[in-house]
């Protein structure tokens, strides 16, 4: 039996309106839990005073150094006692989701049972790093909650200066644009770094994210230190029946203005069906008896736009894999950084391919661990030392796909130019011979 509710006039206002209300959910929990009664009391105080009242601390589970976000109340009375004593501790367990965030109702119900017994009963699907956030437990209950969740086959995610929980898109499970098995790549990489997730010891956080195609539904390019984004290197595929069906429904204006004209590199043209070019790099598809699309794949940057518009009529090629970008992050400390291409194309079809991805990830993490300053993200480290130093450390050859354009300032020592030209030419000859 829970104690009486504190008055919450401001939070009450968030129960009106058509969108589902988290306040209503909290009030439902408060019917049985003194704990949540006091959480609501503190939250209402924040709404009134426009100040937050949680501070961090150290709470964990046996064997791990991270994965629990500790919160202790700072809302104290004159004697230094918590104003809302039943919610003086409000810790969150970060738990790694399955790739693509797929669940059965069976496992969700088991989560509910565990969290009703050990925690507040509040669960967020999902936090901004992808974790299932089991929000609100007292210190004494953290171990029991984790044990029960762990017995269900789930594990804590990252917090602090550690490899963080990862996310992957719905991917191959339900998307025709998927260019590699995101879930297998996700598990292969992340489960290799469990020690770096559970025992934070890096200079700062390190995030991996897995998107199956350049639509990048996981926002990996802006938010991941290492982004694995699916792509293809052969010709786009086409399906005449689906292309004709799309054209019949949408017409020529839409095709010209929203497909042909929106191609960023003008690689796509609308042609008289009888005049379409043929060749090793050409994809073409008839949209009617008289008109056809012609795409020169050498000019295509795999942006996905035309494929998104004519889904199925145009499709990624068959020689699929991923582009790897490093150094994306938001704001602190030098402002936003997008990931930078370090591997333009990597095949990810077999276990061996995935092992190569894990090896690359390991080399990047090792270099980051040894060379980043404290509280410096990978992108900031690369900005400080220069991309070339980073690539040389990883033993990755430079590639013009890594830059938007060659350098525009002349201040550079080029003492080794001739040697480099000779070395790269020899390397290319060697590769061609092989």
């Amino acid at each position: 039996m829970a104690k009486p509710m504190h008055p919450t006039p401001m939070l009450d206002e968030l129960e009106s309106g058509p969108w589902p209300s988290f306040v209503t959910g909290l009030k439902r929990l408060a019917e049985d839990k003194d704990y949540v009664v006091d959480v609501l009391g503190q939250l209402e105080t924040s709404y009134k005073t426009r100040k937050g009242y949680w501070k961090g601390g150290t709470v964990g589970v046996i064997g791990y150094g991270g994965g629990v976000i500790p919160r202790f109340t700072e809302l104290k009375d004159a004697e230094g006692k918590p104003v809302f004593k039943d919610a003086a501790e409000f810790h969150t367990l970060r738990v790694m989701p399955p790739p693509g965030m797929h669940y059965t109702t069976d496992i969700l119900r088991k989560f509910c049972d565990v969290w009703e017994e050990h925690g507040s009963g509040l669960i967020a699907f999902h936090g901004q790093s992808g974790d299932i956030m089991f929000q609100g437990a007292k210190t004494d209950n953290v171990q029991g909650a984790f044990d029960a969740i762990n017995e269900l086959g789930f594990d804590l995610g990252g917090a602090g200066p550690a490899v963080r929980t990862s996310m992957s898109c719905v991917g191959a499970a339900r998307c025709e644009q998927s260019c590699y098995d995101e879930a297998r790549a996700h598990r292969a990489v992340i489960n290799n770094f469990l020690d770096d997730i559970h025992r934070p010891s890096l200079p700062y956080k390190f995030k991996f994210k897995f998107s199956g195609c350049p639509n990048d539904c996981m926002n990996s390019i802006q938010r991941a230190d290492m982004a694995i984004i699916g792509t293809w290197r052969d010709n786009m595929r086409s399906d005449e029946a689906l292309a004709r069906r799309w054209f019949a429904a949408h017409g020529v204006d839409e095709l010209v203005n929203n497909v042909v004209a929106r191609c960023p590199t003008k690689a796509i043209q609308l042609k008289d069906a009888s005049k379409v070019a043929t060749g090793a790099t050409i994809t073409s598809v008839k949209v009617s008896d008289t008109q056809a699309l012609e795409i020169d794949n050498r000019d295509c940057v795999r942006c996905m736009h035309c494929i998104n518009v004519i889904t199925g009529g145009l499709a990624p090629g068959e020689d699929t894999g991923a582009t790897i970008l490093v150094g994306g992050k938001r704001t602190l400390k030098i402002g936003d950084l997008m990931g930078t291409v370090v591997v333009p194309f990597m095949k990810l079809a077999t276990d061996e391919d995935r092992e190569a991805l894990v090896e690359l990830a390991q080399k990047i993490i090792d270099f980051f661990a040894e060379n980043a300053l404290e509280h410096e993200r990978t992108g900031e480290m690369i900005e400080r030392i220069g991309l070339v130093n980073f690539l040389e450390a990883l033993e990755i050859e430079v590639d013009p796909n890594m830059v938007a354009c060659p350098r525009t300032n002349p201040y550079v020592r080029t003492d080794g130019w001739d040697d480099e030209v000779a070395r790269i030419k020899a390397l290319k000859q060697q590769q061609q011979a092989a």
């Binding site: 589902p20 100040k51 086959g153 191959a172 602190l332 400390k333």
Partner: protein
């Protein structure tokens, strides 16, 4: 017999603590809808029969309908169980969540879609968020759980989604619209077409009595992006001081040094940013840009924020062409016209003066009249 063995022999047997099973990321195959499992990696195309519903067709000919609904993200177990009941009774027991905290129910027959939608709506879960809609707002923890929040996120999102629910339920925008909310400038909410971010507008207030005991001073000094913080002796005790003219009020000093209080009930304001996009479709990915600052932190419904967001959204809806994201639309009409059409004011504070800012200046005669 040595001492250790003797102790072990005489002490009561102690339960050894359970060691974690470091199982890592679980295999998702065990949770996939049977048709998703069967057609894994072998899908052909998809369409959207109506807003909130995706229809995927596999190469095998199998078809799956996914119904997407909005949630409040921070859900009580009662809500999760209710969603499970709906999944068991009206869908096929399998769900997934999107990156924006929407829930998706997969079904194997078209005639299961309508009853599922009806049930979800009846239980208060709006169906939508697909295609050219305004999807649920990605957000951070705010006053409910964060240790450095300038505002609440769940509340601001609830208030805004109440007003945008029609745009969530319909697919009437020129292209998809992603929103995010962050309760401080660290911006965990991320890049978005329209982002709402708390902005500190005054330097931190320092409690000099506590600094020496609580803060590792060199690491606080190192954290400052503009070198405005330096060690100082205050009242004979080691502390820190801030060059207030230099300070950009980013709040980076607060997490490692809570006595440098940055949040302020009056001076923590909200800013609006536009034009961020992570997709590579058409143009390259873009960062979002600040267009409004100084909006009041006004719980529980933040009406001033809603008003600006709605104004930008509705201008975009009326003015953009199909497939133009907000960034694409602004690229076509130009920034002067963006400010003109939205009625927002361009001020000197919106001209970037950060490292590398010249790339954001107009080095051309490309000017629209």
């Amino acid at each position: 017999m040595n001492t250790a063995t003797a102790t072990a022999a005489t002490a009561a047997p102690k339960a050894s603590p359970r060691r974690a099973i470091e199982c890592g990321v679980p295999d998702n195959q065990q949770y996939l809808h049977p048709l998703l499992k069967k057609n894994y990696g072998a899908w052909k195309y998809h369409d959207r029969p109506r807003p909130g519903v995706l229809h995927h067709v596999a190469r095998s000919g199998d078809e799956v309908w996914s119904v997407r609904a909005g949630t409040q993200r921070q859900m009580d177990v009662g809500t999760v169980r209710k969603l499970c009941d709906i999944a068991d009774q009206y869908a096929e027991g399998h769900v997934r969540f999107t990156i924006r905290s929407n829930i998706e129910f997969m079904v194997s027959a078209a005639d299961k879609v309508a009853p599922l939608i009806e049930k979800l709506e009846a239980e208060g879960f709006p169906v939508g968020g697909t295609g050219n809609s305004v999807s649920m707002i990605a957000h951070t923890q705010g006053w409910l759980h964060c240790d450095i929040p300038g505002t609440d996120a769940s509340g601001a999102v609830k208030a805004l989604m109440d007003e945008l629910i029609t745009e969530f339920r319909r697919e009437e925008m020129p292209n998809r619209v992603h929103l995010s909310t962050s309760c401080c400038e660290i911006n965990c909410g991320g890049q978005a077409d329209i982002a709402i971010i708390v902005q500190h507008t005054k330097p931190p207030k320092i409690n000099h009595d506590l600094v020496a005991n609580v803060c590792e001073r060199p690491s606080v000094v190192a954290r400052c992006p503009v070198a405005a913080i330096r060690p100082a002796l205050v009242n004979g005790r080691p502390s820190l001081e801030v060059d207030e003219a230099k300070c950009i009020c980013c709040g980076a000093c607060y997490p490692p040094c809570p006595p440098m209080q940055i949040n302020d009930p009056e001076h923590s304001k909200l800013a609006i940013w536009v034009g961020g996009k992570n997709s590579n479709a058409r143009g390259k990915p873009t960062f979002m840009k600040m267009v409004v600052s100084g909006l009041p932190n006004n719980p529980p419904r933040w009406p001033e924020v809603s008003e600006v967001v709605k104004k930008i959204l509705h201008t975009y809806k009326e003015d953009a062409r199909s497939w133009e994201r907000i960034a694409d639309w602004i690229e076509r009409i130009g920034w002067p016209r963006f400010f003109e059409k939205t009625g927002l004011t361009f001020t000197k504070y919106l001209i970037d003066d950060w490292r590398g800012a010249r790339v954001n200046l107009n080095a051309s005669t490309h000017i629209r009249f």
